[in-house]
């Protein structure tokens, strides 16, 4: 879906050609007066336009968080929609300052493509959706099934690996476009459809009868999705990472966009320190921003839980459960280093 093999090839070629874009991204961003983020050309809940044409989604809100941290104004974020082919060259060439385009963090992207990853704003993984009529309760019972899959993606490779490991037979039915694959599955062309779990939730909305389908419990791959920046600019990398950590810490400390103003006077030193209300604090300025940076993120964009609920969670049509994306205190993987 978001990892075509071609893109890696182009990205690798790009690395050879690209003149390393300017090292001081923060200075460039401040000079431009806005931060430019690469987003997807429409992935429901991650980045898609609303009725007014404004971008919405969890990746979009990450970018707004960066803008709020730097400028105190979430509208200073600009979005460049990128296909999975264009995204790496766009980051290499400096067309975008940061890629917040549900990109899986892999070692080859971290090393040979020359990017840096640190935070994961959505833990995803590849799953299966099947027709209930098939009476299958586990992916291990799928031997002999016809599987709809989008071609040229790691999804297709993961599928092959999984069935090979478990000694299962299957008939892949491949499609160039995700929309075609889902339509074919809905029309009964295959028994199973596989893509990332977040994608399975989005597909349910397009089905003629979603209740006849169920998502199997197995998750067969790890897809940590997070922002990528160019290597060689640690200061910018720190800012992008701490925007996410501030949002997660805010949720953990119970600071929301609604109560952030009162929370500034909270007796809790962790909260005061994060919101820059501590005497003589240098946390924000050391980051190259103002001490209000975290306050601005939470005030204008919200904490991680608010963003999640609004974009992909219960307050959105997707209604994805927190699952792995719950805070570490609630059995999930979202864990942020302390602000001190």
């Amino acid at each position: 879906m978001k990892k075509t093999i071609l893109s890696a090839a182009i990205g690798a070629a790009a690395l050879g050609l690209a003149s390393a874009a300017s090292a001081a991204t923060l200075d460039d961003v401040k000079a431009k007066g806005s931060v430019t983020c690469g987003v997807s050309a429409g992935i429901p809940g991650f980045s898609n336009p609303d009725d007014k044409g404004e971008w919405t989604g969890i990746d979009v809100d990450y970018c707004r968080g960066i803008a709020a941290a730097i400028f105190g104004d979430p509208t200073k974020a600009k979005f460049v929609p990128l296909s999975s082919k264009d995204r790496f060259p766009a980051l290499q060439s400096g067309e975008v300052d940061v890629l917040t385009r549900n990109t899986t963090w892999t070692i080859s992207r971290d090393t040979s493509l020359g990017f840096n990853f640190r935070t994961v704003n959505y833990y995803d993984g590849q799953g299966f959706i099947v027709k209930k009529g098939l009476n299958v309760k586990s992916a291990l019972e799928l031997s002999g099934a016809a599987v709809c899959v989008q071609t040229g993606t790691t999804t297709e490779l993961n599928l092959a690996d999984y069935f090979k490991t478990n000694n299962l037979q299957y008939n892949p039915v491949v499609f160039e476009k995700e929309a075609d694959a889902t339509t074919a599955y809905d029309a009964g062309r295959c028994d199973v459809y596989t893509t990332d779990q977040s994608g399975l939730y989005a597909i349910r909305l397009k089905m003629k009868n979603p209740d006849e389908n169920m998502v199997l419990p197995e998750v067969i791959s790890k897809e940590p999705l997070g922002p990528a920046v160019r290597q060689g600019d640690d200061k910018w990398f720190d800012i992008v990472s701490w925007v996410h950590y501030a949002m997660v810490n805010a949720e953990e400390l119970g600071v929301t966009s609604k109560n952030v103003d009162e929370m500034k006077n909270s007796p809790n030193p962790d909260i005061k320190r994060m919101l820059g209300a501590e005497e003589g604090t240098k946390i924000g300025t050391d980051l190259g921003l103002t001490n209000e940076w975290a306050y601005n993120i939470v005030k204008h964009v919200g904490n991680y839980g608010e963003v999640f609920d609004r974009t992909v969670g219960p307050n959105s049509p997707l209604k994805i459960e927190r699952g792995l994306n719950a805070l570490w205190t609630k059995g999930g993987l979202q864990y942020a280093p302390p602000v001190r």
């Binding site: 182009i10 790009a14 050609l17 690209a18 003149s19 874009a21 300017s22 050309a41 429409g42 992935i43 429901p44 809940g45 898609n48 336009p49 609303d50 009725d51 007014k52 044409g53 404004e54 600009k78 460049v80 929609p81 990128l82 296909s83 082919k85 264009d86 060259p89 766009a90 290499q92 060439s93 400096g94 067309e95 929309a179 809905d186 989005a202 909305l205 397009k206 089905m207 003629k208 009868n209 979603p210 209740d211 959105s316 049509p317 997707l318």
Partner: protein, 384 residues
């Protein structure tokens, strides 16, 4: 010899009689057009059966079962899909088009500034209509205004300047971008194509080679690669900090591409002009440009109007390829909005495509009708 067989000479014409009833009216039309031979009978019945099979379902889906208003997906989804419609009903979701209509027209152009593209569109229509009516006066001034002055005014109106807020091109989209790309492509490709065609037929080797190489190289590359190269590879070659507006890249790519095709169409017309016309012009002592402008081109262009319009229509539809470089023309923005989970239902994507297809058809059909009219208008009877 003398016979009194008086000759009868009729002095007045017979009153014309109406054609026999079997040769007129609807029944005649049906008999000769639809049921003339057994083969016709079979074909007619098959066609009628096909229409009866398809059309009621289409009308039902497009209009009767369609949803005309609503604020989100629940309006267009059935109960089982999490909506309000009775289960089993499936009809177009026009509410989706309604909610997104502004976006389909202007892309993400700021709402407060949308009067600017509307004003450009009004100016365009005011200048275009007299241009299209053959009898309207002041063609020269009109053309100057339409092809030179209007683009300059539109540029500043759309992008900003002179006190208007700046609107970056990445925010442009929808039908507006489709029309800008095609108008620019058409305006540039016709003159450039004519020059290339003349160059290709020129006796001067350098000019001829340049034109042949240009035409053959551009025609040999798919438009999608031209756009892809322009959007992905170009930024990597340019020095740091250089950005080259994406819309501009697309405009240049699309117009160069169309000119190469246009050149070959025009060359076809030039080759159809008899040698005598060239020689006649030469014998009058006309210069090369006079000869082309007064004698050859008017005849050649007239001959290839269908080919030219064909290229225009192709260009108009090809503009939707710009969505691969992250720009959103009409089709691109329709597809982009299908990713809005608030409107995600089984019928939304199809509705979007039907809408985009209808708008494209409207413009292409308009162009085709106008070209048919121009052919009739210019047909002065010189058939070779």
């Amino acid at each position: 010899m003398a016979t009194n067989a008086s000759t009868f000479v009729r002095q007045s014409m017979l009153e014309p009689k109406p054609a026999p009833s079997s040769q007129t009216g609807a029944s005649h039309w049906i008999r000769t057009r639809l049921f003339a031979t057994p083969k016709d009978v079979i074909l007619t019945i098959l066609a009628l059966a096909l229409i009866a099979y398809i059309v009621p379902g289409m009308i039902n889906w497009l209009f009767i079962d369609a949803v005309w208003s609503g604020t989100d997906r629940t309006a267009c989804a059935t109960v089982i899909q999490g909506g309000v419609l009775p289960d089993g009903q499936s009809g177009a979701c026009w509410a989706f088009v309604e909610a997104k209509f502004q976006q389909f027209m202007f892309g993400r152009y700021p709402a407060d500034e949308r009067w600017r593209p509307i004003l450009v569109a009004i100016l365009f229509i005011i200048l275009l209509v007299p241009m299209l009516i053959p009898k309207a006066p002041f063609k020269g001034w009109n053309a100057l205004a339409l092809f030179i002055v209007l683009p300059i005014i539109s540029f500043f109106l759309l992008i900003g300047g002179f006190g208007l807020p700046h609107v970056e091109t990445p925010l442009w989209g929808g039908l507006m971008v489709t029309l800008i790309l095609s108008f620019f492509g058409i305006t540039v490709s016709l003159p450039l194509g004519i020059i290339l065609a003349l160059g290709r037929r020129s006796d001067m080797p350098v000019i001829k080679t340049i034109c042949v190489v240009f035409i053959e190289v551009i025609r040999g590359i798919p438009l999608i690669s031209v756009l892809f190269m322009a959007s992905v590879m170009l930024p990597l070659f340019l020095p740091d900090g250089w950005t080259f507006d994406k819309l501009l890249r697309a405009l240049i790519g699309v117009s160069l591409f169309a000119s190469a095709y246009m050149a070959e169409v025009v060359r076809g017309g030039l080759q159809a002009i008899p040698k005598g016309q060239f020689e006649g012009a030469d014998s009058l002592g006309l210069s090369y440009w006079q000869k082309m402008r007064l004698i050859v081109l008017p005849q050649a262009i007239k001959l290839v109007i269908p080919g030219i319009v064909n290229t225009f229509i192709g260009l108009f539809k090809d503009t939707s390829l710009v969505s691969i470089i992250g720009m959103f023309d009409l089709l691109g923005i329709v597809v982009l909005n299908q990713s809005d989970a608030n409107w995600s239902t089984p019928v939304t994507p199809i509705t979007g495509y039907v809408f985009a297809g209808f708008v494209f058809w409207l413009f292409c059909f308009g162009m085709s009708r106008y070209s048919a009219f121009m052919e009739r208008h210019l047909d002065t009877g010189h058939r070779h």
